[in-house]
């Protein structure tokens, strides 16, 4: 199927899904998790999954763990220099989807990914695409802060050293300092760059991981619940940071916190049981969701 055809069929699916959502509204008798539609059939995606200015675009993504299918026919664009939030209940496949974008799923035995993935019109699952190069262009920040058991300096310098970005110590110093500055951590750690990164607080560790990621100047940053292990103050700092990073990077963030999604993202995608239910402007998703499931989720009927 060509790209245009995909777009057309997606649009028609969207119309159907809206009708179906209305149908669900009529038959909902009680407000329990089960009857709120958790197990209802979902066909197609509501809203605007595609972007005019796509940095990454994915079409008909299916992911299998062994025999079990985790993602069903997800098509989604991630726009240039936007923050897209992926939300949904636990086990809905949003993290799995995120990991397909830099091929981190390759490391999981038995994991199989099908579909069409483009980064700037390059097929990222093509034979010629080296996952190592891809991951240098599409960085990732994980749920649990995972600094290397090395000094703060070595943590940030790891990527540039790996890829040979700096030819001498002064250049490396500059990359480390500017990465720490952009991650908003430099002022706090400038006097102790040689202490282990693992000795920092949780929020500082996560910012260190972000600094480490941006030190290799990726084009896209994937964040897998980056603030879920942090306290509210550290979370706020991370959110401010994400907002600043948007100037230079394309960011996809998985989050469990709907407030967080509302605060940091421009677009929001709602996943449910491995399917992409609805995508839209964040404002619209949180104020006027088109799909009943989305509404049920954001109003806290389940999740």
């Amino acid at each position: 199927m060509t790209r245009a055809a995909v777009d057309a069929s997606a649009a028609s699916q969207t119309a159907e899904a809206v009708q179906e959502a209305e149908a669900v509204e009529l038959v909902r008798p009680q407000e329990t998790a089960d009857t709120a539609g958790i197990h209802q059939e979902i066909s197609g995606t509501v809203g605007t999954p595609f972007s005019d200015n796509a940095k990454m675009s994915t079409r008909h993504v299916d992911v299998f763990y062994g025999d079990k299918q985790a993602i069903f026919d997800v098509s989604l664009d991630i726009g240039e220099k936007e923050v897209i939030a992926l939300i949904g209940p636990s086990g809905c496949g949003k993290s799995t989807y995120l990991r397909t974008l830099n091929r981190m799923n390759d490391t999981i035995p038995g994991c199989r990914v099908t579909g069409d993935f483009q980064l700037d019109d390059e097929d990222i699952y093509a034979k010629e695409m080296d996952p190592v190069l891809l991951r240098a262009r599409v960085g990732m920040v994980f749920q649990k802060p995972n600094p290397f058991p090395k000094s703060i300096y070595d943590n940030v310098a790891y990527g540039p050293r790996l890829h040979g970005f700096a030819s001498n110590r002064a250049e490396l110093d500059e990359i480390v300092v500017s990465s720490l500055q952009r991650a908003g951590l430099f002022e706090e750690v400038k006097d102790r760059l040689n202490v282990p990164g693992t000795g920092l607080s949780g929020g500082q560790q996560q910012r260190l991981c972000i600094a480490r990621t941006i030190a290799v100047s990726p084009e896209v940053i994937l964040m897998d619940e980056p603030a879920s292990a942090l306290d509210p103050i550290a979370t706020a700092t991370i959110e401010e940071l994400i907002d600043e990073l948007r100037e230079n990077y394309t960011i996809a963030i998985v989050t469990h916190s709907m407030q967080q999604a509302a605060r940091v993202s421009q677009r929001t995608a709602y996943f449910h049981l491995g399917k992409l239910v609805e995508v839209g402007e964040t404002n619209q998703i949180f104020t006027n969701p088109a799909h009943q499931l989305t509404e049920n989720y954001i109003t806290g009927r389940f999740g």
Binding site: T107, L133, R135, G139, F142, P147, P149, Y158, H163, C209
Partner: protein, 424 residues
């Protein structure tokens, strides 16, 4: 009866159980400590005599004529002198009342058979002594040595000991003249094995052990580490890797003598590696220690949090980089522990060496990994098997040396582990 009362009653029983278990645990530790103390005390008490040796001072006349050499003899000629004759004449001169042939023989038996070599060596060291009279300390025979050091033998009847009453009388006379002394036995650590207990030392076995362990470590550590890293991080999960894993686990439980047979058949018979040498010994012990190292290393690699490897991969590290820059260094303490356990096992092994000719009486100290050699446990085994009473003490002393070797190795491992240990 209300709930609180019910809980309280059962609580009493539970606390009693806990106290009983703690008591049992303490008792078990105490018993283990007692056994250890008993073992160590027994070994040290038995070994003590081996660290002391009885020496007899003789007045030797280095007479050129009696030695059968020229007055201006060079080193080579001096080497071939008749030191035994000189020794005998000097001894008989000190005991002029001993005339009977049989008594003379008994008198000469006071001295170690190594005594004449000591005369030779001291003369070779100072050739200007030729033609002079010198007071020279020589080793006493092992039977004399045992007698001097053992209070119970002194009180025993003549028929219950290996030396006769007239020999005892001569010894008493030497003691009166201050010509009998027990000195610290340094030669135990510097000389190699001998049929004569008073001459036998541990140096050969110690060096042999050192070389063998070195070969074992040099072969088994890189091989074991590489196998563990490949199996844990790179090998596809399929039937073949399952079979390999089961076999590795089973190999760890194979009786060690079987590895000796394998070594004999493959290394010596097929590849023609020299027998009795630390090289082949190390190769056989490598076969034996490999499963231990592989299993321990895999467990250590498995316990490295996957998030660290994920972080490296997400930075664009290749798999090899992620594994060798992050997983292996973090697993290193565990890998080293496994390696040291394997080395300690190898250090104490006798059975596989039996098959490849390392259980042998070897007098020379090995100079390289292809020289004939023996190892400490084999030396202990050989000495424990010897009939001479003095070898009993040597056996215990050798056990102490083996234990010290082991402790040194473990200490090294602890230091290395501390160095590599990192918190996250």
């Amino acid at each position: 009866m209300n709930k609180t009362e019910q809980v309280r009653r059962s609580l009493k029983k539970r606390h009693r159980q806990e106290r009983r278990f703690i008591l049992l645990g303490k008792l078990a530790v105490l018993i283990a400590l007692l056994f250890l103390a008993f073992l160590l005390a027994d070994i040290f008490i038995k070994a003590w005599p081996a660290f002391k040796q009885t020496w007899i001072q003789l007045e030797i006349s280095y007479d050129a004529e009696k030695l059968g050499v020229d007055a201006a003899a060079d080193q080579k000629a001096l080497k071939q002198g008749n030191y035994r004759g000189v020794l005998k004449k000097s001894l008989y001169a000190m005991f002029p009342d001993v005339t009977e042939r049989r008594d003379k023989k008994a008198l000469f038996k006071l001295l170690s058979s190594g005594a004449e070599y000591r005369l030779r060596d001291s003369l070779l060291a100072q050739p200007e002594m030729l033609g002079t009279r010198q007071q020279i300390w020589v080793l006493a025979d092992d039977d004399i040595d045992s007698y001097i050091k053992s209070a119970s033998l002194r009180d025993a009847d003549q028929s219950d000991r290996r030396i006769k009453d007239n020999q005892v009388a001569w010894l008493d006379r030497l003691e009166e003249q201050g010509r009998l002394e027990t000195k610290w036995n340094w030669s135990f650590l510097t000389s190699s094995d001998s049929r004569e207990p008073e001459l036998a030392g541990i140096a050969g076995a110690l060096k042999g052990t050192f070389l063998t362990i070195l070969v074992t470590l040099a072969l088994s550590f890189p091989l074991g580490l590489a196998a563990a890293v490949y199996l844990e991080e790179f090998a596809p999960q399929n039937r073949w890797t399952d079979i390999i894993e089961i076999n590795v686990n089973n190999l760890a439980a194979v009786p060690s003598i079987v590895f000796g047979l394998l070594g004999l058949a493959v290394f010596i018979s097929f590849f023609g590696v020299p027998r009795s040498a630390p090289l082949v010994g190390g190769m056989v012990l490598t076969l034996m220690t490999l499963p231990t190292i592989i299993i321990a290393s895999r467990a250590a690699l498995k316990s490295v949090p996957p998030s660290i490897k994920d972080a490296a991969l997400a930075m664009g590290a290749s798999k090899v980089q992620a594994v060798f820059q992050h997983a292996v260094p973090l697993a290193m303490p565990g890998i080293l522990t496994g390696t040291i356990i394997g080395m300690a096992q190898a250090l104490g092994e006798t059975a596989p060496l039996l098959m490849i000719g390392m259980v042998a009486f070897i007098v020379d100290i090995p100079q390289g990994i292809t020289d004939s050699a023996t190892v400490l446990p084999v030396q202990i085994y050989l000495w424990a098997d010897s009939p001479e009473r003095a070898f009993m003490a040597k056996t215990s002393a050798a056990i102490i040396v083996l234990l010290l070797f082991l402790i040194t190795m473990n200490l090294l491992a602890v230091i290395l582990r501390k160095k590599f240990e990192r918190k996250w």
